[in-house]
């Protein structure tokens, strides 16, 4: 049944593209051009150019807008067209022409037309020579791209202001700048049958776990989809196979953070066109660590991490607990406080659970609107949502003021760790419902279920909840409290986590 279902899904989702046939490069430039035209027409941005030097025919194909025209004219065309070849043998002319080009330009020889076309479509210049059954590709890419800017969602006080951009080459260069040793390796793979998106696996060869690396390679190679528009596509292939709230795949917009992860023996995955990198294996406690923790005094790191953990729990539990207290467990809070809450809630026509759910929904709507709107309007939306709707709702008696405080505090707390926002938002809604139906009883059952769900995640054999459980006291020096660099820097950080 499962196999039948999978087969059907594969049939439905299979990309409708022709399979690449092996087509050898021909000796005649015009024949090659004909083939390319049959494949690529109509495509206004593909430029074909034929030239003749001392009776030898040259053919050039490139994509307009993806190549550096200045570079092509000055460092490619000038030496090739002014070259002295001294022979009419196409193969030798091709080799000589390739040798004339400056070493700063990437060169590769191709024997097969389809591969050559794919490379040309990535921004390379393709050169044919009459009589040569080979072609040369020159790396002259120049894409319209965003410059390196400060990361939006991982702002740091003392860290670098550089963030990853959409160009994966730039991203790898940002890593190279931070790790200047030959042990930093970068492997290129391709995903997406149509998009042919380049994915770069980066790791430090002296500390990476070979089994995990092989598994990452295998998973990326087996990732079957048509078009890859972002690293998120890969996450489901790289992450935990069991149904869980947590995937075991981390992401970062910061090259310095990825550098730190690589130094712990983790593997980075940089996808072309995505301004953030993924890394595996990712464990739960990493959500509460940030670069600033390591750049400031350890005591400060301890305080910040404690605050983050508290915020995480407030973000998830507070509305559920409030609903549970109002509905079932009034005895746990002082009389004066419960009287105030009861008084406020008595004016609200809805049950507390429904009220909390509606407020949660309203907040999510305001958040979504603020996120998708242009920034200038986004602020206005936030003001209207938070102040106008909130204040008006309380004045109209539709929402109690304590509920507004609870939802507000929860919202702020959940933004302390942006990467956990989705999980906490979902769990918050669940806990509001169970808190309203079954009080602390239900909340604890749900909590236990979430914990066991989390402990079942074991990305690449590394338990998601380590070093807490299974307990690895060696890694505790960088858990809640961070040791001083004098002792923290003596060993490679947390690599012991990787070996189960």
């Amino acid at each position: 049944m499962e196999n039948w279902y999978r087969k059907k899904i594969d049939e439905i989702t299979a990309p409708n593209v022709e399979k690449d046939e092996k087509e050898p490069i021909k000796a005649e430039v015009s024949e090659n051009f004909k083939y390319l035209e049959s494949k690529l027409t109509p495509s206004f941005d593909v430029k074909y150019r034929k030239s003749e030097v001392n009776g030898i025919k040259f053919g050039f194909v490139m994509l307009d807008g993806m190549c550096d025209n200045e570079l092509i004219t000055e460092q490619l065309m000038l030496p090739i067209l002014n070259g002295d070849y001294g022979t009419s043998d196409g193969e030798r002319v091709l080799e000589t022409a390739a040798d004339l080009i400056s070493a700063s330009i990437d060169k590769s020889i191709q024997f097969e037309l389809n591969t050559a076309v794919n490379e040309m479509l990535s921004g390379n210049l393709l050169m044919f020579v009459e009589g040569a059954e080979r072609a040369v590709l020159f790396g002259v890419q120049k894409f319209p791209k965003r410059s390196i800017s400060e990361p939006d969602s991982e702002t740091q006080e003392k860290g670098s202001k550089e963030g990853f951009s959409e160009s994966f080459k730039d991203n790898v260069a940002l890593l190279r700048r931070r790790i200047r040793t030959p042990v930093l390796k970068s492997e290129i793979l391709e995903v997406g049958t149509t998009s042919k998106t380049r994915v770069c696996i980066v790791y430090l060869s002296d500390r990476v776990n070979e089994k995990i690396l092989a598994s990452v390679r295998k998973r990326i190679k087996n990732a079957s989809f048509d078009v890859c528009l972002g690293a998120g596509y890969l996450e489901s292939f790289l992450g935990n196979e069991k149904a869980s709230f947590f995937s075991g795949v981390g992401s970062t917009e910061r090259p310095d953070v990825l550098t730190a992860k690589l130094s712990e023996g983790k593997i980075g995955i940089i996808t072309d066109g995505t301004p953030y990198a993924l890394y595996v294996p990712h464990i739960f406690t990493e959500y509460f660590h940030s670069l600033d923790d390591y750049l400031k005094r350890p005591y400060y790191a301890f305080a910040i991490r404690t605050l983050k953990i508290a915020s995480f729990f407030i973000g998830i539990f507070l509305p559920g607990i409030y609903v549970a207290i109002c509905t079932f467990h009034q005895e746990v809070i002082p009389e004066s406080m419960i009287f105030d809450i009861c008084l406020q809630e008595s004016f609200v026509p809805l049950p507390v659970m429904i009220e909390a759910l509606i407020m949660h929904l309203v907040f999510e709507i305001v958040k979504e609107a603020g996120l998708r709107m242009p920034k200038s309007i986004g602020n206005a939306v936030s003001i209207v949502g938070a102040l106008v709707i909130g204040d008006a709702a309380v004045s109209a008696g539709l929402v109690a003021a304590p509920m507004l405080i609870v939802i507000g505090l929860t919202a702020v707390s959940s933004f302390v760790i942006p990467s956990l926002y989705d999980i906490s938002s979902l769990l918050r809604a669940v806990l509001i419902i169970v808190g309203g139906i079954s009080g602390f009883y239900g909340i604890m059952i749900a909590f236990a279920a979430v914990v066991i769900n989390m402990t079942a995640v074991s990305p690449y054999g590394v338990p998601f909840t380590s070093p807490l459980s299974p307990t690895k006291t060696g890694a505790w020096r960088d858990l809640l409290f961070r040791s001083d660099w004098r002792s923290l820097g003596k060993k490679i950080l947390q690599t012991d986590r990787l070996d189960k």
């Binding site: 467990h329 746990v332 809070i333 009080g439 009883y441 059952i445 279920a449 914990v451 066991i452």
Partner: protein, 351 residues
């Protein structure tokens, strides 16, 4: 691949499951035993506990864990007996939780839905396997012990040592009886008997540490219960919850909620563990898929618990100390001794 857990993880689960028994202990069933006797009997039952587990450890030491074909007739019988024991204790745990929810937390609400919810989540936990259960136990043990310490700290002011009576005030026999009953309530001995194959490390050392820690914790809880409530604790359905309910921290009152939380976490682990063990034993002995056994056990458990739910008379019948005692004695020392004799006879025949 067979999952393995460490001794620390294993005994963390058992510490929580044993703590559950203490937290949910109903002294109304034990007559003629005073507060001081309750504290003393924890030491006695430690001794009894060690005595009944000696054959199990001896068997394990002498013949190792992989001594028999898993599909042999003896192993099948053993799997059935242990599964029955674990099923029975699962039923009593769920029913006790149901009784607590139905009488203390939601006295005016039908809690059958919650009962089903608990069983469903526990079956999910069992389905995930022993590793997640063990890892969760290690994570739960910190908040549970911290909550317990916090409650004890908040209760220090309310301790009245005059509530302690001289030892054996009503004779020594009730104390011995209570200690034996407590041994009967400890399904953990049966769990230890079947857990050697998936626990790595020095199990014997872990066992002694576990025994010492759980005895100490139980003694502390009984001390607070006895000194705060005195003879009044005999009339309480859940005295530990009662003392926690009168505890106060600054302006927060009713710390019984913390007990509820601890209770649920411990019960969740215990039921998950027992369902897991049933599915493991049955699937190994009879070659049935683990998932099928897990679902079947969960359905049966729900059905039986729904039948018991809402009726204190049925619960009392089910929770009889004698049945529990017989089950534990049969599954722990008797089976181990029988296996020892069998192995010895086999050895003699070979020679």
């Amino acid at each position: 691949m067979n999952s393995k857990i460490s001794v620390f993880q294993f005994y963390s689960i058992l510490l929580l499951t044993r703590l559950l028994i203490t937290l949910t202990y109903t002294p109304a069933y034990t007559k003629d035993i005073t507060a001081s006797d309750m504290i003393f009997q924890t030491v006695l039952r430690l001794v009894f506990g060690i005595i009944i587990t000696v054959p199990v450890f001896w068997l394990n030491k002498k013949y190792g864990i992989e001594r028999r074909d898993k599909k042999s007739t003896f192993n099948k019988i053993k799997a059935i007996i242990f599964s029955a024991v674990f099923f029975y204790f699962s039923v009593t745990t769920v029913s006790r939780l149901d009784l607590f929810a139905g009488t203390v937390v939601f006295p005016e609400t039908d809690v059958k839905f919650l009962l089903l919810l608990v069983v469903a989540f526990c079956a999910y936990g069992a389905y995930l396997g022993i590793e997640p259960i063990a890892r969760s136990a290690v994570l739960f043990i910190i908040p549970v012990l911290m909550s317990l310490a916090f409650i004890c700290l908040m209760l220090v002011k309310k301790v009245d040592l005059l509530n302690l009576t001289p030892l054996f005030y009503n004779g020594a026999l009730p104390v011995f009886k209570t200690a034996l009953n407590a041994v009967g309530r400890t399904v953990e001995y049966a769990v230890i008997a079947v857990s050697f194959p998936f626990v790595t490390g020095n199990s014997k050392k872990g066992f002694f540490i576990w025994m010492a820690v759980q005895t100490l914790l139980t003694a502390v809880i009984f001390f607070f219960e006895g000194t705060i409530l005195g003879a009044f604790s005999r009339m309480q359905l859940f005295p530990v919850y009662t003392i926690a309910s009168i505890a106060q921290c600054l302006f927060f009152r009713g710390l019984g909620t913390l007990i509820t939380g601890m209770w649920i976490l411990c019960a969740f682990l215990k039921i998950s563990l027992l369902i897991f063990l049933q599915s493991k034993l049955i699937s190994e002995a009879f070659g049935v898929k683990k998932t099928v056994v897990t679902v079947t056990v969960a359905v049966l458990l729900s059905a039986v618990c729904l039948f018991v739910s809402g009726s204190v008379a049925r619960f009392n019948f089910l929770d009889t100390s004698y049945i529990k005692f017989v089950l534990i004695i049969l599954s722990v020392p008797v089976l181990a001794i029988a296996e020892l004799i069998g192995e010895r006879a086999k050895k003699c025949v070979k020679q």
